[in-house]
Symmetry: C2
Subunit: 523 residues, 2 copies
């Protein structure tokens, strides 16, 4: 991705057009996704990618607002969407834009420090919604209380550094974000003895805004654990490998000698809610005590729920606006077993409304992994057409840029099976039965890989760069320039028909097995 010399403003239309053409050729060369035998889906995919190109190419000065520059929805504000839904696409196809967006966050760090002070916390707390770094949420329960924004930013930052090996950015700027966010987590949580000492984080809202201000939200705790460990790791590596940079860091942030050790200790003792009896992770420590909401019997004219029910009603139920535990299963999948992923997905899927457009892409990715292939395709298609078919009836407010980014993730990580846990690039694909092939590009440590999923094989080629190693279903595979590496595939993973149905826990059933509550509130 070499910088394009821009033509002079008076160079004339032809030069401007040529420059724009060259820019777009470059964009498509590094970003295109091709779907064999599905021309309609192909067209919609490219429409989404084009929206991403428009929304992200100039992130250095303004971040990536939720609607890009396409509409007035969300007042131009910037959310976690960028880090979790858009940055993976940028990191793996246009890493310079990813760095621009992350640097924009870095410039907001002082504002985030002030925000932490306002909330009586140490370190830095990034705003839930913002333009210039100041918190712009009007409603803290589904705004400020989403402390997970700190971990989301740290996650995107580490993902970028691992994919690019851009250690300069890490040493000189990004490390400050990791340290200040780790400090926030250590201070926000608290120790409590329940037999063992455990580290708890109370009074937070996870991604699912249909329950708010809860204790030990699984997503938040899992991501905070990642954040604390990443900060400790980076600080310790810096101390061992770059003592001058470490000394500068200690001076700059008044870093205490035992801070990294304390972050690790909090991470290692992080409370992770798990319901032994039924083998699922509750969304928060008391989620399973709620009533069940029977979505299957909720009339269509009562959707989305947030426009038809008071928050006090919605908050009392087991019902999700968007994937929460299921998002953790994707972002931190190496901390969950295959059985846990299946059980969690099957439990939460029938409770998830998808009233947020951020949900479908995540449900698609995890559905593909655990074997609900048709459902994965269904969620993918509904995300792909959110704006093109105006499925949420609000396309006039602007493009859902995060959903567009998420469709790329659903292609690369869902059907494409790409993961990057622990800094390794791996593939375990799930090609939909109706697709002939899926081809996408991934730039890893400067090498641009062209990955093609076929019904019976995975093919990888280095389009640019020096080649690299990747993992395919547990096997190490070497990719060298100018050569297609073909790995035979024995099918597309587990296959489960249909979709999961509502599962009532013992607390929701009488001794005779009848359901106690699976009611829709009156309205």
């Amino acid at each position: 991705m070499p910088p394009h010399p821009r033509p002079r403003a008076d160079a004339g239309t032809a030069a401007q057009l040529a420059e724009q053409r060259a820019w777009l050729d470059d964009f498509w060369a590094r970003s295109d996704v091709e779907i064999g035998g599905q021309p309609e889906i192909q067209q919609a995919v490219r429409w989404n990618l084009f929206q991403l190109a428009q929304a992200t190419a100039r992130a250095e000065g303004s971040g990536v607002p939720a609607k890009g520059l396409t509409g007035s929805g969300y007042s131009g504000h910037y959310f976690w969407d960028t880090e979790i839904y858009v940055l993976p696409f940028l990191t793996y196809t246009s890493p310079r834009y990813a760095r621009n967006a992350l640097r924009f966050r870095y410039q907001m760090l002082d504002a985030a420090r002030r925000r932490a002070r306002e909330l009586s916390q140490k370190g830095a707390l990034f705003p839930w919604r913002t333009i210039n770094g100041e918190e712009a949420s009007a409603y803290y329960a589904a705004g400020t209380a989403q402390y997970h924004i700190d971990a989301d930013i740290s996650y995107a930052l580490v993902q970028y550094v691992r994919a690019t090996d851009d250690r300069d950015f890490l040493r000189r700027e990004a490390v400050d974000i990791l340290v200040e966010t780790a400090r926030m987590w250590e201070d926000l949580g608290f120790w409590r003895a329940n037999g063992d000492d455990n580290f708890h984080i109370h009074g937070v809202t996870g991604p699912d805004e249909y329950t708010t201000v809860v204790n030990d939200n699984l997503f938040t705790n899992v991501m905070a654990r990642f954040n604390l460990r990443a900060a400790a790791y980076v600080v310790e590596r810096l101390r061992d490998e770059h003592p001058e940079d470490h000394a500068a860091l200690v001076e700059r942030l008044q870093l205490g000698v035992s801070e990294a050790t304390e972050w690790r200790r909090a991470a290692d003792h992080m409370s992770i809610p798990f319901a032994e009896g039924i083998g699922i992770h509750p969304q928060d420590s008391h989620f399973l005590e709620r009533e069940l909401w029977d979505l299957a019997h909720t009339p269509a004219d009562k959707r989305p729920l947030l426009l038809h029910y008071h928050p006090l009603v919605i908050y009392r139920y087991q019902v999700l606006k968007q994937a929460d535990v299921v998002l953790a299963l994707f972002l931190q999948g190496h901390h969950f077993t295959a059985e846990e992923k299946l059980a969690d997905f099957e439990y939460y899927d029938p409770l998830t409304t998808g009233d947020s457009t951020l949900s479908g892409v995540v449900q698609s990715i995890v559905a593909a992994e655990v074997g609900y292939h048709e459902l994965a395709l269904e969620y993918f298609v509904s995300s792909l057409y959110v704006d093109l078919a105006n499925l949420h009836a609000n396309a006039s407010d602007g493009v859902h840029v995060a959903s567009a980014g998420g469709t790329w993730s659903a292609l690369a990580s869902g059907f494409g099976g790409m993961r990057d846990y622990n800094g390794e690039l791996t593939f375990d694909p799930r090609l939909p039965q109706s697709w002939e092939s899926l081809t996408y590009r991934v730039t890893w440590h400067g090498t641009r890989l062209r990955v093609t999923v076929l019904p019976d094989a995975l093919e990888i080629e280095a389009e640019t760069g020096e080649g690299t190693h990747v993992g395919v279903r547990g096997e190490q595979v070497k990719v060298v320039p100018g050569e297609v590496t073909r790995v035979p595939l024995d099918g597309q993973g587990p296959v489960r028909p249909g979709r999961p149905s509502l599962r009532a826990l013992s607390g929701n059933r009488r001794d005779d097995g009848t359901l106690i509550t699976a009611t829709v509130p009156h309205s």
Copy 2:
């Protein structure tokens, strides 16, 4: 309390003055409280009673706003304060004013029905703050979520009917409030199997606004239980004793044949949080999982907490704005043992800030009952002088009418030891050591009793009416007109020195006994 014929507007100053004098003479005759040997406290008590006279004499058209007509605080709004803090005074000294205030609520019933629909509930939900019956809360967490308003109104209504025997009002108007609020409770709560089926009420805020939107708030559940049983009792009595009125009720409210049975069943299975290990009632089902807030080490310039910490900070801690469990111990004391009351009071007292002026009077009453006499006097005095000494630095916003009402309750029910559980009037006094005597008036079934507490005896006289029976420390006592009934007292109940100190639970202590968290947040 015969109605006063009002002089004509042109009757002249002398007639107006005479009318006013007669009105006040009547007020003091039925309402005065005399404290022997304490002229300063006596003067302050009368100031508070005079504020109540001014705020409540014309409740028929406007209810009793939180500031009466003395200031612009709370914008003239009307809260639960009236029913729980002011109506006991009116019911026992000026029952006609009590009926006026309750009838004002009755006139709001249609608005409360509409409000219930907005919240997807059956029955009626009274507004948390209002002038004309419409909800005027801007912040639902410490507003609409205080569903207990329904039970508070039912409580005041039943208290009024029991004290006055005004069955006409009950049969023709008040019963509608009982039925509609019982319907709201039955619909708001839900059944859940935990071994037994239990009835739970989730997502509510109790009186303590420093924790919000919790599950099974003890106060709410105890009061909802009262409300459900009262409605069932009244409906069944009506059916048995006044079949025509019952038929009219069935027609008017479309009352189902099994509704009363269902209310009773919900009440009988109401979930009442109790922590076996430490023998206290948690404020809500997860209250004890919170961090402890160390009030003793919170600087004075950080009080009241709500002005110095974000709600997200306060909500994470075990810290109370005002009495919550302790208020239930007073209003529904017959459902708690003496040991439970002592343990609960000792647990919550060190966690209670008193940042609400509604708190001190309740803490005074229960402190007196469980034996913390000096503390009871301290809370009483600080409530007595809230406005006179401007102790909350906001007397310029107007008089704290509820606190004024509460000082009467602290005198009559705290030091005076009066209770009215199950429709019986009983006395178990706690005269402060520094007081020579305490005399107050209580009108019961048309008989005005003059009750005098002395260090070694209780004296009761019927000032008007036909006499009645009361209970004094478990003994039935007959009061006849024209005769002072003297009951010797063996002391003033249990005596405990000092005040309770912060008690750390096992979860807040390490194995070596050190406290894990009793910290004050940074600010």
